[in-house]
Amino acid sequence: MTALQDRPLTATEDGPVRSRLVVIGNGMAGARTVEEILARGGAEQFSVTMFGDEPYGNYNRIMLSHVLSGEETDEDIYLNTLDWYADNDISLHAGHRVVRVDRFAKIVTAVHTATGDVAEAGYDKLIIATGSSSFMPRMDGLTRPDGSLTDGVFAFRTIDDTRGMIAYAEHDHHHRAVVIGGGLLGLEAARGLQRFGLSVDVVHAGAHLMNAQLGAAGADILRAGVERLGIGVHLSARTTGILGDGRVTGVALQDREALPCDMVVIAAGIRPNVELAVTSGFTVERAIVVDDFMRTVDDPDVYAVGECVQHRGQVYGLVAPLWEQAGVLADQITGADVTAAYHGSRTATKLKVAGMEVAAMGLQEPERDTDEQVLFAEPKRGVYKSLIIRDDKLVGATVLGDTSKVAFLMQAFDQGLPLPQERLSMLFELGAPSAEVGAAELDPQAQVCNCNGVSKAQLCSAVESGCTSVQGVMDRTRAGKGCGSCKLMVKQIVEWAAGDRVQEDPSVHWYVPGIPMDKPALMRAIREQGLRSVSAVFAALAPDGQEDARSKMGLGSLLKMMWNDEYVDERDARFINDRVHANIQRDGTFSVVPQMKGGVTSPAQLRRIADVAEKWQVPMVKLTGGQRIDLLGVRKEDLPAVWADLEMPSGYAYGKSFRTVKTCVGQEFCRFGVGDSTNLGIALESRFQGLESPAKIKMAVSGCPRNCAESYVKDVGIVAIDGGRWEIYVGGAAGAHIRKGDLLATVDDPETAERLTGRFMQYYREHAKWLERTYAFVPRVGLDHLKAVIVEDSLGIGADLDTRMQSSIDAYRDPWHEAHRPATPGQFRTGLPLQVLPQVPIR
């Protein structure tokens, strides 16, 4: 008997007294837990001893199927080599199986699996992480008389199993393999064995493949895909015995012909390893019972973690819950966070099964009459999508083949996010073609951000270099920082590339990056503390009172919306466009767009614009998409004089604000017109001119459902219909993103249309995130909610919204008056003093 260091409770030479922590199990759960403990400074508190019955360091068991398929070597999958244990001062007893825990003497006893040597270790705290092992169904001929598996029969659980399978499969005389078990592991084994030129059959006792994760309909599509790969599938087939005498020659099936084969892999599920816990007197039901702190219910000094654990009746066989458990256990045992508790996991899996993408979470089928199922199947292409929705929350999803929306679905499932009204958009990416290709399949060289020219490979390399949050990668590569329409794709690629490492950056919920608050909290603080300027907000609410250039514009807009006349306007908070009331162009010149309400002009106005363009040598005069006239290439220093000569108000073609109302000629001239669209358009533009908002707002009014003013694709679009009524659409877009607006209301007169438009705008101004266009805002808060609040006034805030909108309207001043009295010294001084501007060719 070898007495191993039974460490007494003593002070080490250079440290305080450390207690003895023993970990039984050196698999993914045991090693991860120790890593988490060390990360919480556990090395100061504990001297750690680990026992593992495999004679290796710690490896990633999930990757064994990649070793079999040849994608990785067994060297690649080690998580911690033996050096890691030495470096962290952990005594590892690899190859030792613990046979007994004496809870009263606090001693564990282990036996070396090869030599039979016995080792003991005393503990103050104990962690049981014995994991699970392959379930071996009862059948004839499975084992030799000594209990070992018959030659040619393999389990698929350990690195040694995998090495054995590879060696056997490579043998020249072995041509056929049978895999028993049609779950994830069985299918991966089957696919892996094909690599060695074997013909493979899968024998599955269940009625359909992967029955733990998939419903019957999805599994049928998976089966077709698996069969296309050349793998035989035998369902509802019970294996009764292994045929052969000393060497496998086939498997016998109940009520079917035997399948001849040279090797058998058993992947029929796993069973928690609980013998040790049972014999040592711990409470074991399906597995070792633990509380929310990952402690055994029998002994406060003994914890358990991983696949050997039963928590609130659940036993988990996936890695994500195990990571969560390890974190809680480490918080508790080190005292780093004694409030930490494990509340169970909602398991969602995304995997590649035999070359097919599969994602499954929650329910497979609807359970209640009120459950909603959204279903799409395209068997020929191997695509299947099924969503189960209960009370407007995603409670289950199965996705095969096309996994482009899986990142969103997993998040919605995990966090109970509100779902888009348009359920179709949960299945497919609508209006953004590039996102239809899943992150995984996308070619590395494919350009993801078309504004800043960022490829998938550049995103992946940012992740590799340590950026694991979506925001971090966007900051590093500038992907998604142009028009923003690729953000979803960027997010999916980062999540795909970072896998388990992906971190949610809390700043995604902040209104602006420099103040750690979401919009409601920020507005509350601003109101409570009476913060009326951007610098006051930074001083009161930013970390260390630090101002942040990237936050100034958003804060300025918000404060103006909240305080109107009382807003203390600091010019440095403004973006250049808002400082000089014109849109900066690529060469540092500006574009000037005078107001032209509803796109209606006059000969006198046109003549004046023509005179100004000639006098100031405007290089380009162009009609805009919003039915106005754009004077492009105006030098900054000429702006005040140009405005003075124009004698027209600003058209606000530069701000994050209300822009313009596009109209058709309507019933005054058009023989189809049923409403006076131009007049309503002019009224809307007069009323809402220049109002700042989280993002730009474009409107349109069409005089009949032919919709010549494109009202369906505007932030607010109004359509006259027969009978003198008006339809109001919100949340439409036809720029970087295309979306048809949702019908908010149908009203009887233009006055009501104008009032509801104002109420919608005010609600949007108060609740949208910075730079969130209505096409994102409307589906986020939901059309039903908007109808209730704005049309039916269900919250009773309609009158307040109208009042606050009116205050903003009353506070409006035409900014082009600054032509006569500059707001700051050098307001219109050129930013590029020695450049000859404009640089664009004069036409």
Binding site: T477, R478, A549, I576, G831, L832
Partner: protein
């Protein structure tokens, strides 16, 4: 000003920096607090920034990305953002915070009369 036992780090740059006559850009008041203004100095385009805490910085005025006018950018105590594509540059060093090539950062100070003095050859870096 340099003690005799202090080894000059660079024999060529040292004396030049000491004896260079600064360019007088005029009163600080022409630059509003929290903003930048551009100056043509000896054939070069220089943007001078006055941050809210009072410090003054000078950088080359043209963004290396697409030629944007940095004097028109928004700033905080640390960096200026180019108005065209929001690339960031550190005011003190000219180094980009968004992966662009660095700008030249110039030594700049305000004298007793309140004038801004720029040392064109005493580059902080560049």
């Amino acid at each position: 000003m340099s003690a005799p036992d202090t080894a000059a780090p660079d024999a060529q740059e040292g004396p030049l920096a000491v004896h260079e006559a600064p360019h007088r850009l005029g009163p600080l008041e022409q630059i509003p607090v929290g903003e930048g203004r551009a100056f043509g100095v000896d054939g070069q385009q220089i943007a001078v920034f006055r941050v809210r805490s009072g410090s003054v910085y000078a950088l080359s005025a043209v963004c290396p990305h697409r030629g944007g006018p940095l004097a028109d950018g928004q700033l905080d105590e640390r960096q200026v953002l180019c108005p065209l594509h929001l690339n960031g540059f550190e005011l003190a060093t000219g180094c980009s915070t968004t992966g662009e090539s660095p700008l030249t950062a110039y030594r700049v100070e305000v004298d007793g009369t309140g004038d801004v003095l720029l040392y064109l050859h005493g580059a902080v870096r560049g």
